[in-house]
Amino acid sequence: MTDKEIIASRIALELNDGDLVNLGIGIPTLVANYVPAGKTVTFQAENGIIGLGGLVEGETEIVNAGGMGASILEGGSFIDSATSFSFIRGGHIDITVLGALEVDQEGSLASWIIPGKKVPGMGGAMDLVTGAKIVIIATRHTNRGVPKILKKCSLPLTAAHQVNLIVTEMAVMEVKSDGLHLLEVHPDYSVDDVVKYTDADLIINDVHPMKGVN
C-alpha cells in the first residue's frame, strides 16, 4: 500500500453507518474508496451535492468540490451554496476529512495560506473545520522529513482547537483536552520513529498497531 492508501483506508474505519461525510481534496477524497462493507455513508460535496457518487470522466454538468466530473447517487439532492454551508456550519456533517500544511497538539489546523509564497484561499475549509462534528486530518507525517505535527502551528490558522483525529502513514493520534495521544503506530515503524518525526509532545501510554493494515 502507498502512504496515501494507508491513510485513506485507516480513516475509512472511522466512518459509521448512516454518517454524513465531507471529504476534502487530495488524500481525503480517497477515503471514499474504502468505506467498510455493510456501512452506508452519505457523502456531501460542498459545491452542492448530498449523495455524491464516484468520478465520471467527461461529465460537465455534475462536478465535485474539486471541479471534477462526478455523479449523484439515488436519493441524493442538489443544493445551493447557502444550504450546503448550513449543513457544514450548522453541525449536520458527522465527519469531515481534510488535508493539512500543519496541525498541532492543541487541535489547531493550518491549511490555506503560506504567506508570501502560496495563497490559494480557504475555500470551504474554515467552515468545515468549524462546523463538522468530527474533524479528521489526513496528512503525510512529515513534509520531506520536516515535521507537520507541531506543538503549535506557525502558519496562519484555518481554525483553532477543532481537530479531533490525525491519521498519517505512520500513526493515528487523537487530540484530547490533556494533549495529543498516540493511539496507533503502523507496523513498519516504531513508537520511537513516530516520536522522532513529530514535533508535538505525544502522550504515550496505550499504543496499538494501526488498524486495517496487514
Binding site: E46, P120, G121, M122, D127, T130, A159
Partner: protein
Amino acid sequence: MKSIINGEKFKTLLKDGMSIMVGGFLTNGTPESLIDLVIESNVKDLTIICNDGGFPDKGVGRLVVNNQVKKIIASHIGTNPIIGSLMSEEKLEVELVPQGTLAERIRAFGAGLGGILTPTGLDTLVEEGKQIITIHNKKYLLEEALGADLALVGGAIADNYGNLKYNKTMRNFNPLIATACKVVVCEPLKIIAEINPENVITPHPFVDYIWVGEYND
C-alpha cells in the same frame, strides 16, 4: 415573457467601477457568454464577487486576465495563478472570504439583513478588524452583508415568465446572487414554457433580464 436582452442592450448595463456578482463553482454554472460580452465592452475597475477565481481561460478569470478587475472577492483563487501573481505585484486587490461566509453574506443582503454572525474565521486572519459578538456564551464574528450592482446568473433553465431552476450542480451561488444585486441578468441553458411552481428555485421577480443570444430581440 420576461424582458429579453440582447448583447447590445446588455452592454449598456455595464459601467466602469461597478460591482458584479458571477455565479458558478470552478466555472460549473458560470454564464460564459455574458462574460464574453463584459470582455467585449472592456469596462474597467470592476469588483468581481464569485466563489472562486475560475481559470485564466474560463469563468471570471478571463476578466482578470483582460485587466478589467480592480478587486476580486472570492473563497478560493488557487486555480488561477494569474490572480496570485497580480496580487503579489499589488495590481489586484483580493479579499478571501470563507465559502460559507461568502454565501451567507450574499444571502443576507438579498434578505435585507445587515450582516451575519458566524463562528467561522474566529482565531484566524479572517477575524482581523471585525467585531466579535458573544451570544449564549458562544463567540461569533460579525460579517457584513454583501450586495452588488449586477448579477450574472448561469446554469439555469428558465421559463417564459423568467422563473429559474438550475441544472444539477450548476445551482451553487446562482440563486443567492439573484437576490442580492440591483440588476439581475440570466443566461439560461434553455427556456421552457413553464416550470412547475413546486420546482422554481428563483422566482421571476428576482430576475430582470433573460439573455438569449445575439439574434433575439
